[in-house]
Assembly symmetry: C2
Homo-oligomer: 132 residues x 2
DNA sequence: TACACAATGTTATATTATAACAATTAACAC
DNA sequence: GTGTTAATTGTTATAATATAACATTGTGTA
């Protein structure tokens, strides 16, 4: 089987909701909002999240413990993620910059360690918040 | 007052311990290990951690919810952190690469957002683990 | 059909982190 | 020194995030 094309019921419910809200959302907030769909326990949400992260449909914003839908036609990219985060309004955008990703993919540390994945989070003020 | 040169009692206790273990360590593990020094509650640890992160003496490894002493003669660098993380043995090293930090400091996203901070975590296998 | 494996349902619990409030100590102008 | 302010501490309780363990059901396929 390939990366998995078909999502299970719970995975689809969780993904649908994350894609709908279109901003980072926390696991328990997802839970509250999908209870009407029959998902009752945290573990059901976390299992779906794990799988969705694994297959690149969503990403975890580590500094916020939140999850967001992938904007970059998913796949591969789940191993190479970059986000900008506004420290005022908490808006998060996925950065899609081929020069940046190429630079980071090829980065070699001094110990010669070979990386297969990275996550980069930038913090600052978004345009709206910086003119306030 | 400058960045704060003198640490308070609890801050010093926590920092001493983190520097001693010399690897990423979790808040409750710190708590268990500094109880003999008189620190009794999680909040005392978290307050010290917050301050130590703020002044750049330690960093938080977001993907691991762990804290590690800064190796780069601290200061400034707390706003520009990069780590390599071995997914097998969980060894974490702080990356100190002036080209990388220069590149990231000057990175401008397409929306023109100005960043004042970033955190980058690379994942892979360290030398030891890759030959196993 | 039967096997293997993925996904589900469920209860309980572990782990990480903060709220709220009172008391104490440090920094410093006067 | 006294008074004022802010930082730090101590303490209890609780919120928020995440996983363990185990029984059951569904799905693909040989």
């Amino acid at each position: 089987m390939l990366k998995q094309e078909i999502l299970s019921k719970n995975q689809q419910i969780v993904l649908d909701y994350i894609e709908k809200v279109n901003e980072p959302i926390k696991a328990y907030s997802i839970l509250h909002n999908v209870q009407k769909k029959g998902i009752k326990a945290p573990l059901q949400v976390y299992r779906a999240l794990d799988k969705l992260v694994e297959i690149g449909k969503i990403h975890k914003i580590e500094s916020r413990n939140a999850f967001v839908a992938c904007k970059n036609s998913n796949c591969q990219i789940s191993k190479a993620t970059a986000f900008s985060i506004c420290e005022s309004c908490e808006e998060v955008s996925e950065i899609s910059d081929s020069k940046l990703s190429k630079y980071l993919k090829n980065f070699q540390d001094k110990a010669g360690m070979k990386f297969n994945k990275y996550n980069l989070e930038f913090f600052g003020l978004c345009k709206k918040c910086s003119i306030k």
